[in-house]
């Protein structure tokens, strides 16, 4: 694969495979996926449930859970432009490097802040834990920074909230507190795993604004995982679309929405009802269901549901990533073919 100038990527994921070895069999949750996280930009990973988007995020954070294992691939982390990258895939999740990265250089927020907030510690205690672990500063100083952090994420009365517990806050406030915790050490990378899925639209809008503002302020890189294409259109610079553990298409947000190359991306965009569409039109739904992980179709995983399915091609061979220029990459056999033909013609 031709490597473009990669000096400005905070993280490059190359052919990452993360498999789960369950008693029923091997689940290939993430399978030879590649994407880049450009420094200071927002990458959205979109996919339906079971597409492997959360597993990817956890792998990057070094939080792959048993019985999951990173079986191959690289996650190259470049702390500063131009330095020799570190391959995170080779690091142990409990190892020295990851322990110093998590909560410091890498922050993460989750879909359910209630599950991530401890019920027996105050917001403040949890907020300070990261600061006190990674930086040398006095308790008073840390407290001030914590209250600052709460203020920054738009929590009213931060001094009072600092001493409250997670369950005393509303859903939106909890998510704000989570973001404050993730940002307490000014991370270079914020991984957000469906942070607004459980929230109402008006709250979601506020949280998305907040993340964008904080990004503009700190210059952090954001990896945002969602299934909502509307949210993607609002915040993404780059997009990676996942299906059955594979990144089937990636590119900048405008290309993905206005010139998608993969039939799945295209179908997904069409299937979405819109507040702008008039009533009565039938939605062009994607037929069928996402296959069971143990019953993956042969060839291209999407072929049984694809409206551009070519018999004898799509069900035979697995597609390889095709570079369509300007960082736009799609995994579709039809593209491979047309490209081959083009090259042959030249």
């Amino acid at each position: 694969m031709p490597m473009p100038d990669s000096a400005d990527n905070l993280i490059e994921v190359r052919d990452l495979s993360c498999h789960f070895f369950t008693e029923e069999g091997v689940v290939r949750s993430v399978d030879q996926s590649s994407f880049d996280l450009p420094r200071g930009k927002t990458l959205c990973i979109v996919g339906e449930s079971g597409s492997g988007k959360s597993v990817t995020a956890r792998a990057l954070m070094g939080l792959t859970r048993e019985p999951g294992k990173i079986v191959s691939g690289q996650m190259l982390y470049r702390p500063a432009p131009g330095v020799v990258p570190i391959d995170l895939a080779a690091e142990r999740s409990g190892g020295q490097l990851y322990r110093s990265l998590r909560g410091a250089a890498f922050g993460m927020i989750f879909q359910e802040p209630m599950a991530a907030l401890s019920p027996v510690h105050t917001i403040g205690t949890q907020l300070l834990e990261g600061v006190l672990t990674h930086e040398a500063c006095s308790r008073a100083e840390a407290r001030n920074r914590g209250i600052d952090a709460l203020q920054r994420v738009g929590i009213p009365e931060p001094e009072r909230r600092f001493d409250q517990y997670g369950f005393e806050l509303s859903g939106g406030m909890r998510q704000r507190a989570m973001i404050a915790m993730a940002l307490a050490c000014r991370p270079a990378l914020l991984i957000a795993d469906e942070p607004t899925t459980a929230l109402d639209v008006t709250t979601q809008a506020n949280i998305l604004d907040l993340i964008a503002d904080l990004q503009a302020e700190t210059g952090m890189t954001v990896m945002f995982i969602t299934h909502d294409l509307g949210v993607v259109a609002e915040i993404a610079d780059e997009v990676a679309v996942m299906y059955l553990g594979r990144v089937v298409e990636r590119g900048d947000v405008d290309t993905i929405f206005h010139a998608p190359a993969h039939p799945y991306t295209e179908a997904l965009l069409n299937a979405m009802p819109s507040v702008h569409a008039r009533r009565g039109t039938r939605l062009p739904a994607i037929p069928g269901m996402v296959p069971h992980p143990f019953a993956r179709p042969s060839g291209c995983g999407f072929h049984p549901r694809c409206h551009r399915f070519v018999d004898g091609l799509c069900n035979r061979r697995e597609p390889e990533p095709v570079d369509l220029g300007a960082g736009h990459v799609a995994r579709c056999l039809r593209l491979e073919n047309s490209k081959d033909q083009k090259e042959a013609a030249e």
């Binding site: 029923e24 069999g25 091997v26 290939r28 143990f294 019953a295 993956r296 179709p297 060839g299």
Partner: protein, 375 residues
């Protein structure tokens, strides 16, 4: 890419598998629990056939053989030319009385050979389960008049092995019957409490708290003291199980109540109500199957508690009394220093209790883990 680790046929089997099938599949992966279950079953079979499995009547005594140590049972023998041959036998003991301390010392006596056999004649003809007249036991001396003490004898020369086997009958069923009574009390009271809520719930819950706050042993003692001394051993036995289950139902009732409370707000229960199901059908068909497996697991874990309680009661002398043979009664006999020093084999019933309780606990744990195959 053919990643199909399951043949299609196997997948279809999962699709149509009901909860009990799924539970069984989950349970059998837990090997320790599986084997414990087999072992528990084995003990119950022994208890059922105790008169046949035990070579002797548990109350048959022979003063001559008081405190005889265990006799080693051998399957192989040497014939007159010194070749190994098959020969199921044991050896007797030589008894010497110390002239000073009058203590009896036993030494193996290679000259006294006692031939053993399977389906040996019983010392006395007996009637199995009150209906089947029998005159054979599983194994024993070929000549029923010869002594045979595989686990030694107690102070009256009774066979410890036979007594442990017979004791299992009472000890294992005290658990079952007690749990049975707790089950009825627990499900009825817990169900009422959880389903109706309100003041009914309040009364039941406060009673449970009251019962739980009474120190157990004094409560047992008080209740046991109320059993008239002239009652037959059977009546006493029944009263003991009632006493145990009167305390044992509380945990189960709470479990059932919790399940009812959780299920009441489940969408599928709401849906059943909207489908027009009468209350009783909602409870029996839509709610109870959701926790019956948990109840079974809880019950299995309650049986060892009951067994231990019986043992403890009898050991303290407030439960069953001789001539009833139970593990607790047997352990009462091992209640002095002399036993530890000279006749450690009298602890055999204790070993039986520990092994059985462990097996039941492993089995129950496995059941509990498998009880919710949808988790």
């Amino acid at each position: 890419m053919s990643d199909t680790t399951h043949p299609p046929a196997a997948e279809r089997r999962v699709d149509v598998a009901g909860q009990w099938t799924l539970m069984w599949w989950k349970f059998r992966r837990h090997k320790l629990a599986l084997w414990s279950g087999v072992f528990v079953l084995f003990i119950y079979v022994i208890a059922l056939f105790a008169s046949f499995v035990a070579p002797k009547d548990p109350n048959a005594y022979a003063a001559r053989y008081a405190y005889v140590p265990p006799m080693k049972v051998a399957f192989m023998d040497r014939d007159s030319e010194g070749n190994r041959t098959f020969g199921f036998h044991t050896h007797g003991w030589k008894v010497e009385t110390d002239p000073l301390t009058l203590q009896k010392n036993f030494a193996p006596d290679p000259d006294v050979r006692i031939d053993l056999r399977f389906f040996a004649p019983a010392p006395e003809p007996y009637v199995l389960w009150g209906v089947l007249p029998m005159n054979r036991v599983l194994f024993g001396p070929a000549d029923a008049t010869q002594p045979f003490y595989p686990l030694g004898a107690d102070r009256l020369g009774r066979d410890v092995y036979s007594r442990v086997i017979h004791g299992s009958q009472v000890s294992m069923t005290v658990g079952l019957v007690g749990v049975g009574i707790s089950l009825v009390l627990g499900i009825v009271l817990g169900g009422i409490s959880g389903y109706f809520g309100g003041w009914v719930d309040n009364i039941v819950q406060r009673s449970i708290e009251f019962l739980k706050s009474i120190p157990q042993i004094p409560l047992w003692m008080g209740l046991a003291a109320a059993i008239p001394a002239y009652w037959s051993p059977i009546a006493v036995y029944f009263m003991v199980t009632v006493i145990l289950s009167l305390i044992g139902w509380t945990g189960l009732a709470r479990e059932v109540r919790g399940r009812f409370l959780a299920l009441k707000s489940e969408d599928f229960v709401t849906s059943a109500r909207l489908d027009g199901c009468p209350e009783l059908r909602i409870i029996l068909r839509h709610m109870v199957p959701s926790f019956s497996s948990h109840i079974i697991a809880t019950l299995t874990l309650a049986v060892p508690t009951m067994i231990l309680a019986e043992t403890a009661l009898s050991f303290l002398g407030i439960g069953l009394r001789p001539p009833v043979v139970s593990w607790g009664v047997l352990m009462q006999e091992a209640q002095n220093v002399r036993t530890i020093a000279t006749a450690p084999w009298l602890f055999a019933p204790g070993v039986a209790v520990v092994v059985t309780v462990l097996a039941l606990n492993f089995f129950g744990d496995g059941l509990r883990d498998a009880a919710d195959p949808y988790a």
